[in-house]
Amino acid sequence: MRLGTLRKKFVSNLSVILLAAAATALPAQEARVGNLDGHAAAGKKEYRRYCVGCHGPGGDGLGENAQWIDPKPRDFTAAVFKCRSTPTGTLPTDDDLGNSIHRGFVTTNMPSWLPLTGQVRADLVAYIKTFSPRWSQGHGTPIAVPPETPTTVESMLRGRVLFQKMECWKCHGPAGHGDGPSASTLTDSKDNPIHPYNFSTGTRFKCGETNQDLYRVFMTGLDGTPMPSFADNLKPAEAWDLVHFLRTLQPLKTPEAMAWKTWLQTHGSTLTPIGPEAQQP
């Protein structure tokens, strides 16, 4: 074949490929959860079956059940989400939303939707994103969660210093019982009263169970609630120290809690209490 004809063929093939790629590019309200594509049209039917009773036909959290439940169902029209892998003020990824549906929100009326197939879940995520125009901006960039540092008592002690210094105790209380001085006046972004997490009775968190999930809670903040992001204030190693300390506050047999318990038996009396007295400069 002559060179000119080859070039013409190449250009026409390339333009067909580009056209095909443009045609299959995902529009804003579609989703990808795991390795599945979700479609809002299918998600709408599933939403009407599973979600509308609480989240409402308009996705605004005003379903007929909403008046009797606390915490209130998520208002998708506000496009503010609690459990994300993305920084505060940004939207969650499709996987974040899919994980929230799958995991549910422990201690709330949002069940863990294990019986739903992955495809249904992906379709629901696509439909949920149609409730707010903010999704056209795209989701935030997930934060980097570096590898966990070693679980040592020294790490937990450093975390304890941070618990004091970052003033977590002002809401969560000196022992993490959710009874800090500011706890009783907390309201969420809809002005509903809200409680800070009580580490002594809680086992799982609303946004997961692992140390990585706990890391993300205070490094992305829980948007729509009083819980801020500490991403500007903590280095990753410090954040892991805090994770290790927080685990000692829970009634679980985690490696952190076991090591801490052993250490307390011999060194417990050396600890200064957490709280306002320790705040004096």
Partner: protein, 242 residues
């Protein structure tokens, strides 16, 4: 020959048109910027402001010899209103500011109570207290975010893309309330403790100005600015005692 004359004429016409429209309305004969000023008053009974109990934050409580009052309705002598944002809502060019606006947390209060700024203008938030604060601007059109700011932190730097009146709160200190007034104009003024406001540097012409008070809502007026002149525009809000 004729073609050349025509094109020269065209160039002269275009240049003069550009000079008269683009090079500023102040070009040419003596046009000077004008001012709109006035007083914000109220009729009726405003709610009483209450003293704030900062006992839960001793490091802030001790900074105030007498307790500070809540600031939702700041009244001045002669039934005037403080912290009312007056801004050009129609007839003006867009925002222009590049210098940062500032917002301070001091003595567990927001200073100023209402911070007016322009769309896309940088905002710097400072924590001058010995306690942590969390900044939680409850935006609805802009993004709602929530960040912790321990004492000694560098200022938080943010910008807002959309015009909006954003309530700001600190969850740790529930008495702290303030506002970001993000405006789409560079001509605005926040009324002082005597209720006066001044909008300067306005090209002569017709404008719509809006006054916003956090409890009493908004009012608008049509105003005409003359060259080098001062136009008076007063606003009166109906106060309700709750």
């Amino acid at each position: 020959m004729h073609k050349r004359n025509f094109s020269i004429l065209a160039i002269v016409f275009l240049v003069s048109a550009a000079a008269s429209s683009k090079a500023g309305r102040f070009a040419g004969h003596a046009i000077a910027p004008g001012t709109i000023e006035g007083i914000i008053s109220y009729t009726g009974t405003p709610p009483k402001m209450k003293p704030i109990d900062m006992a839960k934050e001793p490091s802030c409580a001790k900074q105030h010899a007498t307790p500070v009052m809540t600031e939702a309705v700041g009244v001045g002598p002669g039934n005037t209103l403080e912290d009312v944002v007056v801004y050009v809502s129609a007839g003006d060019k867009g925002p222009q500011a590049s210098q940062p606006a500032t917002y301070e947390q001091k003595g567990c209060q927001y200073i100023p109570h209402v911070a007016a700024m322009e769309v896309n203008q940088p905002l710097e938030i400072y924590n001058h207290d010995q306690t942590s604060h969390n900044i939680h601007p409850m935006a609805k059109l802009n993004s709602e975010w929530n960040k912790s700011q321990p004492p000694g932190s560098p200022p938080l730097k943010v910008t807002y893309e959309k015009a909006e009146f954003i309530p700001v709160k600190c969850n740790v200190h529930p008495w702290m309330h303030g506002y970001f007034a993000v405006l789409g104009t560079s001509h605005y003024s926040v009324s002082d403790d005597k209720g006066t406001f001044t909008l300067k540097g306005l090209a002569p012409g017709k404008y719509t100005i809006t006054a916003w008070q956090e409890k009493f809502g908004t009012q608008t007026e049509e105003v005409t600015v003359t060259s080098g002149g001062t136009t008076k525009a007063n606003f009166t809000f109906k106060a309700v005692p709750y």
